[in-house]
Subunit: 175 residues, 2 copies
């Protein structure tokens, strides 16, 4: 039996999207830099490994990060209102693994790997990073399971030149 | 040699962020996949080369693209309400250059390079792409000079396996 539903707009939010497995397979082909995004403040220190980071505009210098809304880091980042995006070089695979939860290190213990400092916001800066962007939270918008977080960049630190770390095809690569 | 730059007084939202040249230098170190984002519909066919693309969530499968709000493509994409993100393989550097405005081809003429099809939305699909994500516009939010465009993915096409094209340090790379 056919049912007719009034669908005035084909772009309606009710339309099914592609399934998660196909989405992930497709996205695994998209190369990306590897970052560790950190925060510190009254809600505590936290961090996670991210590839979903992009610049937004250069005036004012801004970037965005997508982060799972259910995690502790998202909550801490939003409560603290500051974060640092540390873009990793090839030498920091162990740090990437730790902050992705692949090294059996929880919470604060992850910061035992790497050498850390701060710029102006107090969010942890990985001293070996290829570049770090110190940010103040401008906006956090929930899109289903994830926040799209826009940060105003208040400090940039160019680290020592080195090959960049990228991720593609479910593998790390040196660029 | 390490360089550290930051603005002196973070607390005031009215203060300038880091300058555009430093932002661009920092972002040039961030590796990214290279995509051609296309649209078609009542507002016409258009496309541009983008690196500011990230997945957002897998349920519903969604991605986002940052696009300069002043360009013709942004206006067409929003008016058409559909777009296709074509993630390029190593063979499509000429297409990347053309849609970045580096090949002396304007507007429609850019589509003379490459072989194109469509999935469900009608936005041009580059048949040689490593993967393509066919999207319906979910949201377009203006952040200063750029739109952050969230798309609901309604189709994914996995192209032939091939090395991915990445951009880092102001150069193309093969991954």
């Amino acid at each position: 039996m056919l049912k007719t539903h009034s669908t005035p707009d084909p772009a309606s939010a009710g339309r099914p999207a592609v399934d998660a497995a196909l989405f992930r397979e497709g996205m695994s082909r998209v190369a990306a830099a590897v970052h560790v995004v950190t925060t510190d403040g009254t809600a505590g220190r936290a961090g996670f490994t991210a590839t979903a980071v992009t610049p937004v505009t250069d005036d004012p210098a801004s970037l965005l990060v997508c982060v799972n809304a259910s995690g502790r880091t998202a909550k801490a980042l939003i409560a603290n209102g500051v974060f640092c995006v540390n873009t990793l070089g090839i030498g920091d695979v162990p740090v990437a693994d730790a902050f992705a939860g692949r090294a059996n290190l929880q919470g604060q213990d992850r910061f035992a790997l790497g050498t850390w400092g701060v710029l102006e916001t107090g969010a942890p800066l990985l001293l070996s990073s290829l570049v770090a962007f110190d940010c103040r939270l401008d906006d956090a918008r929930l899109v289903a399971s994830h926040y799209v977080i826009v940060g105003r960049i208040v400090g940039v630190r160019l680290g020592e030149e080195q090959p960049a770390l990228a991720h593609q095809g479910r593998l790390y690569h040196r660029i």
